[in-house]
Symmetry: C2
Subunit: 405 residues, 2 copies
């Protein structure tokens, strides 16, 4: 389905595209000139105290994440990953992605402290692992979100979506069983179409279409992930992570380089990207900005979403950098606000992709007008969730700025 957005932690081809790196004049995320000043003992942020975190702290963090990666991998193999995949296997896949993302982010943000060739070889591989493992979960979550929205839009209370339903054969999803299976718990609905609750004809057909398309996409993602986990490429990554768990390839100056300088640079990149967002509009409720171009020829890709997706990734890098280097005083408050801002951006991404999936489904040949109508309502509904998420981010960010000043 919709392709995931470029990850700034993935050095990939060294392009300077606006999504890969929104800052003008730089030649890629690794080329930021500021890290060259790393090693300065000056404290870049007020309110910090104690000995500065350096290469040792970074090494400890990376070793811990590598260990977590290996633990999750072992757990994943033990819990099975095929058609008998269990909730434990999904949990293991999530843990794998989590640690892969953190190692990759550490390599990105603190690159000057690490062996350069090793970093450049490692990071695309970690991005491939977490990206491949994320696809199935994304399909599951998208279907879940769209069916829940269809139920809400139909005013249906007969079939509330239950995220706690038994999970199906998937690697990373939470609930494959959104559409209650015949063997599932007895339905409260008394309509003639119990498998869809009391959705109207158009909504039911739209739901069935999305179910078919996203289940197919999920099945493909599942196969792809299984193949990836069994590939020699993955085994090479796992071997490298196993080495990392005991031995971090630090540079000679790492022991005297203050991590907080590099963490501050990551924060600056985030702040710069946020500053470029249309936050005044976003903070004005019902600005109707997210649905503009909702009927433009290319409804699947909303270019206006890209800067927000980029901020989501930069915010995550900032959060992980804080995890590694420690933040200034008032950590908990800042962390909670970062979390709220990050959750808003996750919602933004999810709603954006769900809206694209609805638009995509509407292009299926020979669908009934009622189906297309329901998909149009659904698309607009999800674009409004996009707008709502921007509002929520603006609110969280505003608090953050006030709190951090």
């Amino acid at each position: 389905m919709a392709q995931r957005h470029p990850d700034p932690t993935d050095p990939g081809p060294r392009t300077t595209g606006p999504v890969a790196d929104p800052r003008p004049g730089t030649v890629g995320p690794l080329a930021d000139p500021r890290p060259a000043s790393a090693g300065s003992p000056a404290d870049p942020r007020p309110g910090t105290a104690g000995s500065a975190p350096t290469g040792d702290t970074l090494a400890g963090y990376l070793r811990a994440q590598a260990t977590e990666f290996l633990r999750a991998l072992r757990l994943h193999r033990e819990t099975g990953s095929g058609a008998n995949g269990s909730e434990g296997s999904a949990e293991a896949a999530r843990a794998l992605r989590r640690s892969a993302r953190r190692i990759s982010a550490g390599l990105h943000t603190f690159q000057p402290l690490l062996d350069s060739d090793w970093c450049e070889a490692m990071r695309p591989e970690l991005a491939w692992v977490s990206g491949t493992l994320a696809m199935e979960h994304a399909c599951t979550a998208r279907l879940e979100r769209l069916l829940a929205a269809l139920h809400r839009l139909s005013g249906s209370t007969a079939f509330p979506v239950r995220p706690g339903l038994p999970a199906g054969p998937h690697l990373g999803g939470r609930a494959a069983g959104v559409v209650p299976a015949p063997a599932g718990p007895p339905a409260r609905s008394t309509t003639a179409a119990p498998e869809r609750g009391n959705l109207t004809v158009g909504a039911a057909k739209a739901g069935a279409l999305l179910d078919r398309q996203l289940t197919l996409a999920r099945t493909r993602a599942h196969s792809t992930a299984l193949q990836a986990l069994g590939s020699s490429r993955f085994h090479a990554v796992a071997d490298k992570v196993a080495v990392l768990a005991s031995e971090v390839p630090l540079t000679g100056t790492a022991a005297t380089t203050d991590l907080r300088l590099l963490a501050a640079a990551a924060e600056d990149r985030l702040t710069a990207a946020v500053t470029a967002l249309p936050l005044v509009t976003a903070g004005n409720p019902y600005n109707a900005a997210a649905l503009v171009h909702g009927l433009s020829p290319d409804t699947v890709a909303h270019p206006q979403d890209a800067p927000w997706h980029q901020v989501r990734l930069l915010l995550r890098l900032h959060r992980y950098a804080r995890e590694t280097a420690g933040g200034p005083r008032g950590d908990t408050v800042v962390d909670l606000r970062l979390l709220a801002a990050g959750q808003a951006l996750n919602l933004h991404r999810d709603a954006s992709e769900a809206a694209a999936a609805a638009a995509h489904a509407a292009r299926t040949p020979r669908i009934a007008p009622a189906t297309a109508y329901a998909l149009g309502v659904l698309h607009a509904d999800q674009r409004h969730e996009v707008e709502a998420a921007r509002f929520a981010f603006q609110q969280a960010w505003q608090k953050e700025t006030v709190g951090a000043s």
Copy 2:
């Protein structure tokens, strides 16, 4: 198209339905027990001073409105109302409706001061006049709103809607020329379909469908209004209004009855109806309440809109009562806020009816899926405008409550 909502100033059949009168235990808008206390010299509101407005004030107000009605009627006949109808004719129709609404409201709110039989005979006739004259304008405004939304949703800037376009043959509309006529100003668009700007296929087809349906409805409304204005029923109303312009049938106690008591009762009815609205939800942006049931079997009538429509009418009665009896100190501030609240509720009504028109059009047999999809997006967009209008009303009302305390 969608039927206008019951007018509480129209006594009609004396039912106690929730829309006609939201208060339990009353038997119709004319049966409020409080007016029985009219005539008491006690000032019902703090902060007022000077001699109390009584029957004389009401008589002056009604005479002035009746004179205005006759002036507008004369103007309407002079400017023509057929296929050569001009902007002047539309303006005259608006003035006719405006005065008819005010006379009707005066008869409703201050009924205890007026001859009861005369009131009961007069009010349904005035409601019929303003209702009949309003239909054509409503169709025009609805089409205008929907086409503007389609352009916005298509990200089209090539054909901004220009409300100042020359008006077509209509009685009460502002701009029949939303879809630029071939002889209009040169278009900035260079696409092959200049008559629709750069709308996409689905949006263009949806626009054409709505154009057909609402233009037909407008033409019918135009004919109906013309027939009405030429009917003996209308001439009887005009004759009665002509009598009213010189002679208001006051009761014996009118000279000593304080209008402000009756105006306060009108305000109390408004306040009670507002209190019953889900204002906490409305004040929480992006609550997604207005689109719930957007795909339910009966999408045309949104029962959740009815209390808001009712408040719109009660707010208007309150405003007119203030015009007649005068308000407490701080009038201008209160008036501006009432105006803002009323405008929000007008938007609410317009968006609600436009959403219903989009849903209605989507039921046209044999439309293309792309058309249906665009109508679905449009419906959802207008339902979000409904939600936005509720938010705007909540904000205006909150200010009002703070300001008036």
